[in-house]
Symmetry: C3
Subunit: 249 residues, 3 copies
């Protein structure tokens, strides 16, 4: 694997995103993550997974400069893989802890909210679903994930404002479960993962399905339509211009 | 228009209810509001809408003395128009800010909770969905709106008690987003409207649909049945007597 | 009735579970409760119901030692009766107040969360949905009830941890509505029941259906499948061993 580092410690698998400075998401990264999580699902030694990033970013989201060269149909294919990935993560049969080591933006935030638990470092790191600020829409599933986590009203507030939340603010909002520090996030994430790993795996998987499958089925029903509309808006003159001007950076 | 005043300021349209002392809702008012919002949806200069009332009331809700003279079938027709209006408002393609200038009761509260943001004056003004206190039921959609805003348990508390909440209490509960004063509500509402208006309109509309259409579809499925039951209870001896005695005033 | 004591006071019916030290639930108890609540639904003198337990327990949940002698098919029959009971309670046409006089565990907690209001004594009493800690799954309906009450994230936290909450902690979480004491819970529960009983019964029933029927329909759709999976896990070697070792006591 080119963009993922794996490390196993006492039944906890740590998956680290390692793609450039900002861990930007492209088709290759999503394919690697999909394969990696599929493999770990079948590995009976793995009781829980931690997903994190290298450097100052968990992930800055989609690799927009790269996608500006994608024809529409290729972008649709990528978006299908991406939304399939976060949906699979949302229903993943083992516990997944997101250790948010830095900025967690847009597509990066969507991955984080699909996990079972989010711990994030305090300081300059921000978390945001800020697509609206460059004229982009969202996916049905990503919106549903925010609604589940925050409730309808706070999800609307976070999504309409596109606000960049510090860990403390995100904790207040309910977007993360715990605030940590750069020094301690690794060991704290492992402690949390161990707590989850101590539970009976069969019962955990069954209960997680009860908790999440109804929402996942609703997400899937609407995802295709929302991808179509997302793409139409993405390639519309107004949004395209903002993306090219990289106002988002 | 007889019962609405309109005023446009830098892309913000201010719609003011002006019907008597309490801005009571009847068929004519709902028709005017429906037409007005339809027109504003097509007006490309309008980026956001503020809805407010004149005097000491945002709205006291249905004009009960008038409806006591309505035959059942006419009342059903009115209720269809009313529930269609708040559903359309809930899905309105532009941001709608409710500036609650005073008492916001029953049907008035249903309109408020359909908007994107609620700001309310402190002091004597109350907000309540108090139908239970005069033996009336509610509509499926209005209940769903309360559940979305407050969560199941707090919605039950508000609806079963029929409590009259001050702005401070309503803010605590999550029923409004901000407490203001009589002097400042106008300028504060405009500031909030400007924040919403600054977002890309196409992205806003698309995202609002993702956030709200699934719930709106559920609302619509059940609205007709709930109107039938609402009317049966409304015309039942016990409720009718309470309505005639105007215990509600 | 063998395991229930009934007492009527000014339109409030108090139903007390009286089965041994821990009010463990078996098929007989559930049948009695089902019959009892059906009868009370038709009794026009009853305006509200309080459900409570004798001794130091509201209910410790299923009578596991007894169920260890149940063949699979009999256990399935019991689970159908049990889930039917809490679903009927969730939609019960009259207000039901749970007066949690002591420990409220597993199946006991499921009954509590089906009611309209929960008041619990402070002190040593705990409330928990702790099935995961003995390798057991849950039922679709019971999970949905927790999600409705707590929201998705807090429901996940409570269910994945299987934590034993004191009344104060449960109140903080939203799992109960009020903390009381051993001395005062009786009179406080009656005050709350009186408040509910003072509302128009027809309006209450209609509104309760609007608030809860959509969720109940979703619960029912998934209940059968979840019972099948629950039973498979319950009789699996790993869980069965934990149940026999009574690690849960």
């Amino acid at each position: 694997m080119q963009f993922l580092q794996l490390k196993k410690e006492e039944g906890i698998e740590i998956v680290t995103l390692t793609r450039g400075k900002v861990n930007a998401l492209n088709e290759h990264v999503i394919e690697e993550m999909t394969d990696c999580f599929n493999t770990l699902a079948d590995d009976s030694e793995v009781k829980a997974v931690i997903i994190t990033g290298q450097g100052k970013f968990f992930s800055f989201g989609f690799d927009i400069p790269e996608f500006l060269h994608y024809p529409k149909e290729d972008f649709v294919r990528y978006l299908n893989k991406f939304t399939d990935f976060y949906t699979a993560l949302f229903l993943y049969p083992k516990p997944v802890i997101a250790a948010l080591n830095g900025h967690t933006i847009a597509g990066g935030c969507m991955i984080a909210v699909s996990c079972d638990y989010r711990i994030m470092i305090s300081g300059k790191a921000k978390i945001a679903l800020n697509e609206i600020n460059f004229g982009s829409s969202l996916f049905a599933g990503s919106v549903e994930l925010m609604k589940l986590l925050l409730g309808q009203r706070k999800a609307e507030e976070a999504i309409y404002s596109g606000a960049m939340y510090s860990a403390a603010e995100a904790y207040q909002l309910g977007l993360i479960d715990r605030v940590s520090t750069e020094e301690e996030i690794g060991s704290e994430a492992k402690n949390i993962a161990r707590m989850y790993a101590s539970k009976d795996g069969v019962a955990f998987k069954s209960i997680k399905n009860l908790l999440r499958k109804p929402a996942a089925e609703e997400m899937r029903k609407r995802e295709q339509d929302s991808i179509r509309e997302f793409v139409d808006i993405w390639y519309a003159e107004n949004t395209w211009k903002k993306l090219q001007e990289k106002k988002i950076y």
